[in-house]
Symmetry: C2
Subunit: 201 residues, 2 copies
Amino acid sequence: MNKRIEYWFDYVSPYAYLTTQVIEELAAKYGREIEWKPMLLGVVFKATNSSPLTLRPPAMARYHQHDMERSARYAGLPFVLPQPFPINTQNTARVCLWMKEVAPERVGEFTRGVTKAYFSGPAAFNDTVWLSEYVNQMGLDGAAAVAACNDERYKEQLRSACEEAIQKGIFGAPWLIVDGEAFWGNDRLPQLEKWLEKGGF
Amino acid sequence: MNKRIEYWFDYVSPYAYLTTQVIEELAAKYGREIEWKPMLLGVVFKATNSSPLTLRPPAMARYHQHDMERSARYAGLPFVLPQPFPINTQNTARVCLWMKEVAPERVGEFTRGVTKAYFSGPAAFNDTVWLSEYVNQMGLDGAAAVAACNDERYKEQLRSACEEAIQKGIFGAPWLIVDGEAFWGNDRLPQLEKWLEKGGF
């Protein structure tokens, strides 16, 4: 059995941002590793006729934005909803896929750092110049990372990932699969932890 | 300020069933009482163009039913999804409104017991004969409870409650309001408890 935890996310998902900050540590506590699976929620939403929470009818959209802010405070993390929101994160996802090949052990650090920068205030998110500098600051090859954004290899990997997500019935993020069991939402981490602790429940 | 916690729910909501079992004890821990606010989710859903989770597209519906079952196990509670689901709960809600007038201190006990019976297996839920017997077994007047189901007084109270819910921006259950702060979902009880403990956060 795959002992790794599949972690499906989009760099633009506020709740995935919260999960991203803690998931590696949580997994390690139970001897598990994370398989980082970036996807594009826009593609997944289209397949399931869903939509971003902040674009729902006014009362719902207001509640969800407030809940994002409060959930971040609850987690002790900064949170500023990016404007505009949502935005397409295909460049960031492709850099992630590139890093999974050239420096797989750094993907968690990259994903935590990038999402924290994005949700801490104005950030040139998904901007190739910004990404290049970020990767350079990690001591990796920023130019190669940016080249990956326009490389058919990573474009195809990202398309395949979205297809795989849809085929697995994934319709939101964060989405975690452990021992074949799916958990959707940052608020399901306590159940996921119980699953890891008990080997299912 | 209203120190009571407004608890909006529908007797047919699986997640409200989970909240119902623990909310009075949680409130009491922080010196609060519950104001039981039954509503009809069907009316609220219509106003917000929403729908029951089990009637969503297949992948979503499957996930949600599984999540209901797992969330009940996580809480150590029995769970059988009623068939058919959902069903209209106007009779149960009207008995609740009647009890709020004649025996307000029993409403929590009634709501815990009725929802537990409903989600433990085949139950004649919302059936006036069943409700009459249930209320009799509580030592209250079952015949009067059933009369309330067809009493314009309680029909009007329930209509008003749904109107109030919509005006407050409520679009799901369980929905809790404490000190003006809204919490949606059984999975927000940890945040609600932190709110009660700290007086906001």
